[in-house]
Assembly symmetry: C2
Homo-oligomer: 765 residues x 2
C-alpha cells in the first residue's frame, strides 16, 4: 500500500495537481469549489472523468437498445451515455418521415398483419450481424414481441429496410439472435397458440392444439434482406419458448432456446382458478430446447417440412426422428440462455432459483451420442438428464436472469432482479467474484460485445426496470435506468445513471464504435428504403410538374434556401404526388418538407429522394415549407399549394403586383454583393492558405460552397439582362438572389474555417 | 494573480489532491490515469465536475424542449443534460399508450383538422405558465407550426390534456408565449393565407385577400384548459408574423410580434421569378407589431370583433381606430422579440443585419401618446419611426437571432447563427462583453428562466441546428447539438455537448426543478386525460365482463403479476372494450397492456384507469400481456383473447386437464411458503428497526407490500379448503399463489431495505 501511495503522490504532482497546480491556478481552484458546491466525492469525480466526453470527441462504444413499447431502437454512446439517435422501426416517426412519406410507408406497411396496419411494436432483443462469431457492424435486427415481427436495419444509414411478419405465431419474445455468420436470425414464439392463422381452438385443447416454435429466418447479406421462402420453423410443444442463443466454435450449428410454463398451465383467476403466475411456476424445472439448426435446414431443403400458412415447419416427430431436437431440464422459469465466448458452455438462470446453471455442450453431445436420455416429454422429445448435462451450478442470489461475458477468461456477469445486484463470477471454477448493487430491479445486462466470441470487457450496462427515486420526478410514469459500470478492475464500480426517456428498453447490444462506417450522404437521387435510384429524382434545372387526368406529379428539388417549385396548383380532388431530391452534398444539410394540414412529412438528407402523396380533397391555400432549420433563410424556404375549385379560371388581367424597386435599390444590392464577395474571398484566402484538403469534412463543405457560388452565374445573367431592359424589380430581386447564394457560400466557408482552426490545420505554401 | 495561485495551492492540498492525496491514493492515482488515458484536459475535468450528477442526486433545473417534427416535448435535466422523458403531444406514442388507448385518443383527436386525423406536429415554442411574470411550474404550452394547433400539458403528471386547432390560420410559427399571469397564450400566424377556412384565393390577390394575425387564447387556470370561445385574434396584414413576447412590469398589458417578408413577396422560381428567399429579404426593414391586448380583449367583450369560422377576430381598421395596434420598423428578417426582465425594453435582431436593436417601451408609448407617426402601412396601421422607438443598437456579428437574459442586471445573450457564436452583451450600456464559439449554427438559446421577470443565470443552452462532426456518426441524418454553457463567470465556458436524438428541438425553457411537484400516483380509478373518475374503474374483486348485444365490455384490474380477467371470450365481429385499473400504490409500478395484433396499447400507472377498444374481426387465439417488466413473474402476467366463430359451442365433456399435483407437491410448496415467510420477517425486522417512517418512498413501498401479504389470506383459505377435499391440484396451485404474493412482498421489502441503507436510515428503539 505504501508504494502505491508514494506512486500516487508522484503522479499527482507530475500531472499538475497539488503544488504543480500553480501552472493552472484558475482550474485547480475551481475544481475544489465545484466539488464542494455540488457535493461531489472523489469517487464521483473519478466517475465523471471516466464518462465525460469533451466536445468533438467520440464515444468508444455504440449501444443499440430496444425501445420497448415505443417500437423504436435507441442508439447511445458509451461511456458518455448520451442518446445519439432513435431509429424508427415499427412505429411511425415523423421527424424521419417514417410512415409519413411513401418510401418509408412501403417498409412500415410490410408489417401489416391480417391486412391491417399495426403502428407500434414491443421491441425486445436487438442483434448485430456477425462474421465468424464477432460483430461486423453491418446490420441490426430487432423483434416485436406483441405482433410477431422482425425488422432489418442497415447500419450504413441507420434506416429500417425490411419488416417481416412471422407467419405462424401470435407473439414472440425470443428474438433476434443470429448464428455466427448471420446465416439465420432466430426468433422463438412466446405464448402458445394454434399455428394456423385465424384458427380458433378452445383452451381445453391447449395441450393438443396449441403449439410453440422457433423460427430460423434466412438472411441474404448481399441484399441486406431476410428471405422468407428460405426460412423455416421448428414446431415445438406449447411451452412458452423464451430466449435463444446460437452455438459457436465447438457448438456451431446448434442453437438453444429455453422456456417457461412447461407446466402448460392455463390460468383463470376470474373463474376461481389460480392465476398463470402460480400455475406456470409450480414445477422445479422447465426445458432447455437443444436444436441442430444446420441439419434441420438440410432436412427442410430435402422436403421434410410441412407448410403452414405457406411457411416451412419441421414437425416435432420429424425433428425427433432425425435427431435434431432434444430437451434438458433447467431450473424453473429461466429468462435467458447465454453461450460462453468459447462456445463450450450454456449458462441458464432459473429466475425463481438462486443458482446459475452452467451446461456443457460436450456433455450434452456425449449423452446424445450415447442415446442416454432420462425420459421423453409428452410430445416424444428425448430429455437428457440435468446431471448428465451440467458442468456446474453456482449460488448467486435472488432472481438471477441474464448473463454476459468479460474479455477476461471465464468471467461472467449475471443480473439479479430481486436482489437488484450484478454478480461477477467465474463459470469455469464456479465461484462468485464480486457483487454490486444497482437501482433497481435489473432485467438484462450487457457487456461490450459480451455475447460474441470476443467480448471487449471495460464496461457493463445494467438495464434497471425501475428507477423510483434516482432522477428528478417527471410524473407517475418514470424513466428506466441504464447504469454504466466499470468492469476493468477486480471490483465493479458504478459510473453513471442514464434515464431512458421513451419506452421500456429491454435489451441492448454494444459494439466498438470504430467497427461502424456510416455514410454521411446518399448518391444523388437514391430511395433510401430500397437502396436503389428513385424514379422521382431529378437534377437541378429539370424540375417539372406533370398532370395526367386528376393525378398531379411534382418532380422537385431542395437546396438552401428554396424549394422548386414554389407554387403547386391543383384542383380539388386531385391526387397529388410530390417527389423531392435534396441537392446538397454537405454533411448534415438535411431538408424537411410538409404541406399544412395534409399529414405528410419527409426528411430529405443530402442526396436522398423522397415522395409524399395525398388527395387534395379540400379547397384552399396551404403553405408548404422546409421543416429543418437549414440556413439563416430557412423560414423563407416556403411555397404554396393552391387547391382551386374545379374549373376555376383566373381573371384576365390578374397578375402579381410589382414590388416597385428602383435603379437605386438595384445599385445598393450590387454594392452588398460586392462587399459580401470580399468577405468570401477573405475566407477562401484563409482556407486555401492551410492544408484543408487533408480534412474530408472541409472538402465536402467547400464542394457545396462552390456549388452555391456557381449558381450565382445564372442569377447574375438574369439581373444584368433585366437591368439592360430597365426592369428594376427583376434586376434587384435577381441581384438579391445572387446575394442569397453568396450568404450560403459564406456560411459554409465560415463553418469550414472554424473547423480548420479547431482541428489544427497547418499553413501551406 | 499570485495571490490566486497561492490560494489555489492551499485549497488543492486541503481538499485531498497533491500531497494530501495519500489519504485516498487509489482514487487520486486513478484520476491521473483516467485523464491521461482518455485525453482529458484540466478544463475538461472541470466541465465534467460541473455537469456530472451522481446516482440518486437531482438536477438543478429541468428543461422542456420542443421536439420539432417529432411532435413531442423533450424533458431534460440541467446540468447533467440527461433526457428524463418524452411527452407525447401531437404524435401517437405507444409507450405512453398515446393514441393507442381511448382516453388519450380523445385528446389527440381534438387535433383533427377539417375532420381528418393529423398524426404529427412541428412543435416549436414551449412556454411554462407564469404568475406575476415568473414561472409557476403548473402548465406547459406548445404549438404546432405545420398544422396550426396549441396543446396544454399538465405538469402534475406530464400528460397532454388538450389540443386546440387555430380556427383561422394555415400555419403558425410564433407560439406559445404567455402573458404575465397566463391570462392568455399568444400564437401568431406565419405564412399568410385567406382566414376563412377552405377558401381559395389566387396568389394575385395576395395583398388584398391573404392575411396574417395573432391569436390570444384565453386560459382557465382552474380547469387547466384553454377556452376557445373566450379567445380572439387580431387580423393583421399578410406579413409573415413570427415570434411574440408579452410585456411585463411597465409594459404589462401590451405584447409584441415581429414579422418577415413584409415585402409581401410571392416567389415563383419555377416560372422564372426569383425565389422567396430573394424577394422576402430585399428591403432593409420589416415590422414589429405593437399590440395592446388588454384593451383589445375589452373591445372583443364589447362586441367589436367579427366572427370568422366562429372565432372572434378584431379587424385591422377597428384595431387602428381604437388605438390598440401599431407598427415599428425593425431590421430585416428578425427571428425573435424578447422583452427584458424589467419590462422596459424589447430586443430584436434582424438576422440579415449584424446589429441587435433595443427598443424602448417608454419611447414607443411617448410616440403613441404624442400621435407621432412617420407613416401608415398599406393597411392603415400607424408606423412609429425607428429612431423614435430605439434605445440603442449594438453590433454583435453575423446572423443574430434570439436573446435571453441573465440574473445579472442588463446582461443579455444573443445567438449568432452565421458566426456560430453566443454573444454576451449589456443592453443598458450597449456594449459587447464576451463571445463564445458553439457547434454549429445556433438557432434559439436559453438561460434559466431567462425569458421571465426573474432570470436565474448560471447556465445557458445553445440550440445548435447542425452538429456535423461533434458526435459518433449515425448515418446521414444527424442529431442536433444542445451545448451547455456556464455563465456564472465573466467569461462563458462551454461545458457539455448534448446530442438530440429525435426531432429538431426548436426552443426550450428551463425552470428551477424545485418549482415542480409532480405526483407519483393517481387516485385509484382516475382518467388521467380528463382528471376525473373513470367510469370503467373497478376495485379488486369486483372485476366483471358484461355483454350487451355484440358489445363486450371488460372491467379489469392489474396488479403484480396477474391481469384479471385472464381469459376474454368473444365472438367474431364483437366490439370489445377493456377498462383496466392499476391497483398498485408503489411508485413506478406501472403496468402495460396489449392484445396481440389488435394495435392497442395502454400504459397504466399506479391508480390510473385506461380503456382500449377494438373490433374482434378475425377468429383465433390472441395472447394479451403486461408490457412492463413489473416483477420477476412479469412474463406470466398474461391472458388469452379467444375470438370464436359465431355460434361456436364447446364439446360437452371438454375441460382443462389437471396438472396432476400430489400431496407431496403441496407439502413442498407449504415448506417454501414457510421459508419465504422467514425471509420476509427478517426484512421486516430490519425495516422496523430503523426510522423508515421518515421516508415517504419507503412508506409507499411498505403499503404495497402489506397489500400483497393481505392477499395471501384468501389464497391460503383456498388451498386449505382444497387440501381438506384432497384436491391436490388446487391445493398446490393456491399455495403457489400464496408464495407469489410473498415474492412480491419480499421484493418490495428488499427494495425498501436497500433504499434505507443508502439513505442513511437510523436505528430506532
Amino acid at each position: 500500500m505504501k508504494t502505491r501511495i508514494k506512486q500516487a503522490v508522484g503522479l499527482a504532482l507530475a500531472a499538475g495537481f497539488g503544488l504543480a497546480a500553480s501552472t493552472s491556478a484558475f482550474s485547480a481552484e475551481s475544481l475544489q469549489d465545484v466539488m464542494k458546491r455540488r457535493g461531489l466525492s472523489q469517487q464521483d469525480l473519478l466517475a465523471a472523468a471516466k464518462t465525460y466526453v469533451p466536445t468533438g470527441k467520440r464515444d468508444e462504444f455504440l449501444a443499440f437498445s430496444s425501445g420497448g413499447q415505443s417500437g423504436q431502437i435507441i442508439v447511445y454512446g458509451i461511456p458518455s451515455m448520451r442518446i445519439l439517435k432513435y431509429i424508427a422501426v415499427f412505429t411511425p416517426e415523423p421527424w424521419q418521415g417514417y410512415g409519413f412519406d411513401e418510401n418509408s410507408k412501403a417498409v412500415l406497411r410490410q408489417g401489416n398483419i391480417d391486412g391491417k396496419e399495426i403502428n407500434w411494436g414491443d421491441t425486445h432483443h436487438p442483434a448485430i450481424s456477425e462474421t465468424q462469431g464477432q460483430y461486423d457492424g453491418q446490420f441490426l435486427f430487432i423483434n416485436d414481441k406483441a405482433n410477431p415481427r422482425l425488422a432489418v436495419i442497415d447500419l450504413r444509414d441507420f434506416e429500417t429496410k425490411q419488416i417481416v411478419v412471422n407467419p405462424i405465431y401470435k407473439s414472440e419474445h425470443g428474438g433476434a439472435f443470429v448464428t455466427p455468420n448471420t446465416e439465420y436470425v432466430i426468433e422463438a414464439a412466446q405464448y402458445a397458440a394454434p399455428l394456423a392463422n385465424q384458427k380458433f381452438e378452445p383452451l381445453t385443447s391447449f395441450n393438443s392444439k396449441y403449439r410453440g416454435g422457433v423460427t430460423y429466418w434466412k438472411f441474404d447479406r448481399h441484399e441486406g434482406r431476410l428471405v422468407p421462402n428460405e426460412s423455416f420453423s421448428f414446431e415445438l410443444p406449447p411451452y412458452s419458448q423464451d430466449l435463444s442463443d446460437a452455438g459457436k466454435g465447438p457448438s456451431e450449428g446448434w442453437a438453444f432456446t429455453n422456456s417457461f410454463c412447461s407446466e402448460r398451465y392455463v390460468g383463470g383467476i376470474e373463474k376461481g382458478r389460480p392465476p398463470y403466475e402460480a400455475g406456470c411456476s409450480a414445477k422445479d424445472t422447465d426445458y432447455l430446447h437443444v436444436m441442430n439448426w444446420k441439419k434441420a435446414a438440410e432436412l427442410v431443403k430435402a422436403g421434410k417440412a410441412t407448410k403452414i400458412n405457406g411457411h416451412n415447419v419441421l414437425p416435432i416427430d420429424v425433428a425427433v426422428k432425425e435427431g435434431v431436437l432434444f430437451l434438458v431440464p433447467e431450473p424453473k422459469s429461466p429468462h435467458g440462455v447465454d453461450v460462453t465466448p468459447d462456445g463450450k458452455f450454456m449458462v441458464v438462470s432459473g429466475k425463481l432459483d438462486t443458482h446459475v446453471s452452467v451446461y456443457s455442450f460436450e456433455k450434452i453431445q456425449a449423452a446424445i451420442k450415447a442415446g442416454k436420455f432420462e425420459s421423453k416429454d409428452p410430445y416424444g422429445i428425448p430429455v437428457i438428464a440435468m446431471k448428465d448435462a451440467l458442468h456446474t451450478q453456482v449460488e448467486l442470489g435472488l432472481g438471477p436472469l441474464h448473463t454476459q461475458y468479460d474479455a477476461k477468461s471465464c468471467v461472467a456477469y449475471t443480473s439479479l432482479y430481486v436482489d437488484s445486484q450484478v454478480a461477477k463470477w467465474n463459470y469455469c471454477e464456479g465461484k462468485v467474484l464480486d457483487k454490486l448493487s444497482v437501482h433497481y430491479n435489473i432485467g438484462h445486462l450487457m457487456t461490450m460485445e459480451g455475447d460474441t466470441m470476443a467480448p471487449q470487457g471495460k464496461y457493463l450496462v445494467a438495464l434497471n426496470k425501475l428507477s423510483i427515486d434516482r432522477f428528478n420526478p417527471v410524473g407517475p410514469l418514470h424513466p428506466q435506468n441504464h447504469q454504466l459500470i466499470d468492469i476493468s478492475n477486480d471490483k465493479m464500480q458504478l459510473l453513471y445513471d442514464m434515464p431512458l426517456p421513451l419506452g421500456e428498453p429491454h435489451y441492448v447490444v454494444g459494439i466498438k464504435a470504430d467497427k461502424l462506417k456510416p455514410a454521411v450522404r446518399y448518391k444523388v437521387g437514391t430511395d433510401s428504403r430500397t437502396d436503389k435510384p428513385h424514379p422521382g429524382a431529378v437534377k437541378a434545372g429539370q424540375e417539372k410538374t406533370v398532370r395526367n387526368g386528376n393525378k398531379v406529379e411534382v418532380f422537385g428539388t431542395l437546396i438552401r434556401s428554396h424549394i422548386t417549385p414554389e407554387t403547386i396548383e391543383v384542383e380539388k380532388g386531385d391526387e397529388v404526388t410530390i417527389h423531392l431530391t435534396n441537392l446538397e452534398r454537405a454533411q448534415d444539410e438535411t431538408h424537411g418538407f410538409t404541406v399544412s394540414t395534409f399529414n405528410v412529412h419527409a426528411s430529405v438528407e443530402p442526396g436522398k429522394t423522397v415522395t409524399v402523396k395525398f388527395t387534395a380533397d379540400k379547397e384552399g391555400v396551404y403553405p408548404y415549407y422546409c421543416t429543418e432549420f437549414c440556413s439563416a433563410l430557412h423560414l423563407e424556404m416556403q411555397g404554396y399549394l393552391l387547391v382551386k375549385p374545379k374549373g376555376w379560371k383566373p381573371e384576365k388581367d390578374a397578375s402579381l403586383s410589382g414590388a416597385g424597386y428602383t435603379e437605386e435599390d438595384y445599385k445598393k444590392t450590387l454594392k452588398k454583393v460586392a462587399d459580401t464577395q470580399a468577405v468570401i474571398d477573405q475566407v477562401v484566402g484563409y482556407i486555401t492558405s492551410v492544408n484543408y484538403t487533408d480534412f474530408p469534412d472541409v472538402v465536402a463543405m467547400m464542394e457545396d460552397a462552390v456549388d452555391q457560388l456557381n449558381r450565382t452565374k445564372e442569377a447574375k445573367a438574369k439581373h444584368e439582362e433585366a437591368a439592360r431592359g430597365a426592369d428594376w424589380d427583376q434586376a434587384n430581386l435577381w441581384a438579391e438572389q445572387v446575394w442569397q447564394y453568396q450568404v450560403k457560400a459564406a456560411d459554409l466557408g465560415l463553418r469550414a474555417k472554424t473547423y480548420l482552426e479547431q482541428h489544427g490545420a497547418k499553413k501551406v505554401e
